[in-house]
Symmetry: C2
DNA sequence: ACTTTTTCTTGCACTTCTTGCATATTTGCA
DNA sequence: TGCAAATATGCAAGAAGTGCAAGAAAAAGT
């Protein structure tokens, strides 16, 4: 019954979980490396699996599809956006909540790795499609978060429009980042929101 | 050298072209029918090809991919939008140009077939991804058209933002159409634009 | 009318992604 | 240690997509 020194590393909740995380990370890293090196279509799953030291079957066990290896690197974004928006004062106008929340998150994602990833996605049609699909999930979650924060119905039109606009500008900012990697997406995003307010503010002539 | 009565149907520019159009249309029709009946993933290319009376190889010769069979039914939309926007008075505010142009096009697409197609796409993850990707093409073309109409630079921020907003609202309107097939997407689109103006008009408190 | 040339169709082989299933192998726990 | 659960792997099969070359059909030239 010697329970002493059962775990040398107290934060790891078991060898199994740790190995799983390591394998996951190894597939991600090797996958991204090979995709950038040889193109997403140029690198096969067998190559990635071999580089990660697992069988192809196991790789697909971890990721479900080739695309998922790429998108898993962005998997945290939706939740981060939701949190950033939820942290805003609830008396703030909808559009400001969105602008502020997205700017917070964008600032945290200006890493070289993320730039590489963004480049890869924009170079690959198949990944672009998947990327846009993921953004729709973001939009949905964002709209819902806004509605909760404001105490409105989950399908409130204003919240959905605000979320849609936020995501649209986020996409544009991503493209702008690729064009000007030294600036980061934030500046463009701010400008886009400013332009939007100016544009929508002016009423059409009667 | 009797060239008399060479062609009974003068408007057909050759048997080859006509057959091509017929085959194209037959694959579209049978494809859509089978996809709706058995699901996009439930129907194989072999089945569609057989139903259309061609080989699988020929089908892929016409369409390039399974998805293209579906999206070819929406292929005219980008051009229609560009035309509708280009037909607007050029002194109109950007947002009004977009709203008006999109409403024109939307009105022309409220057919039962298009509703079926929209349903199919929204039921199928793979098609949703492709759909969003196509919308990006629309957005790009729309932004460019706006810039030309206004005599601005092709990458003008205001035009890009206006285009992005228009496409976002178009997507939302499509979803609203699925939820309320009796109304059509127009009403929701109008409301969304109104909400947007109201939202963006109110300046944040200093 | 006949031949030539061009275009289209088809079959075949091949690669790759993806899934299902059965079978080891490893890890956690009593 | 020994049993149960989770994990890894191999194998088989299905389906999408691509390249190639032979065959069929239409158009053009003579």
């Amino acid at each position: 019954m010697q329970e002493v020194q059962e775990k040398v590393f107290p934060d790891e909740q078991g060898l199994r979980a740790r190995k799983r995380q390591e394998t996951h990370a190894r597939i991600q890293a090797e996958g991204l490396r090979l995709f950038i090196e040889k193109g997403f279509d140029g690198a096969t799953l067998d190559e990635v699996a071999a580089a990660a030291g697992v069988s192809r079957r196991t790789l697909l066990n971890y990721f479900g599809s080739k695309e998922e290896i790429v998108f898993s690197l962005k998997a945290q974004i939706p939740e981060m956006i939701a949190q950033a928006v939820a942290a805003r004062p609830c008396d703030e106008p909808l559009l400001d909540m969105v602008e502020g929340g997205l700017a917070d998150v964008a600032a945290r994602f200006q890493t070289p790795d993320m730039l590489d990833l963004t480049r890869l996605i924009h170079q690959t049609p198949a990944l672009q499609a998947g990327d846009h699909a993921k953004y729709e999930g973001v939009e949905r979650l964002l709209a819902q978060t806004l509605a909760e924060r404001k105490g409105l119905a989950p399908d409130d039109v204003a919240c959905r429009v605000a979320a849609a606009i936020g995501v649209s500008i986020m996409k544009l900012a991503g493209e702008a980042w690729l064009a000007h990697p030294d600036e980061g997406p934030e500046r463009f995003g701010r400008e886009a929101f400013a332009v939007l307010r100016r544009m929508a503010g002016q009423r059409p002539p009667p």
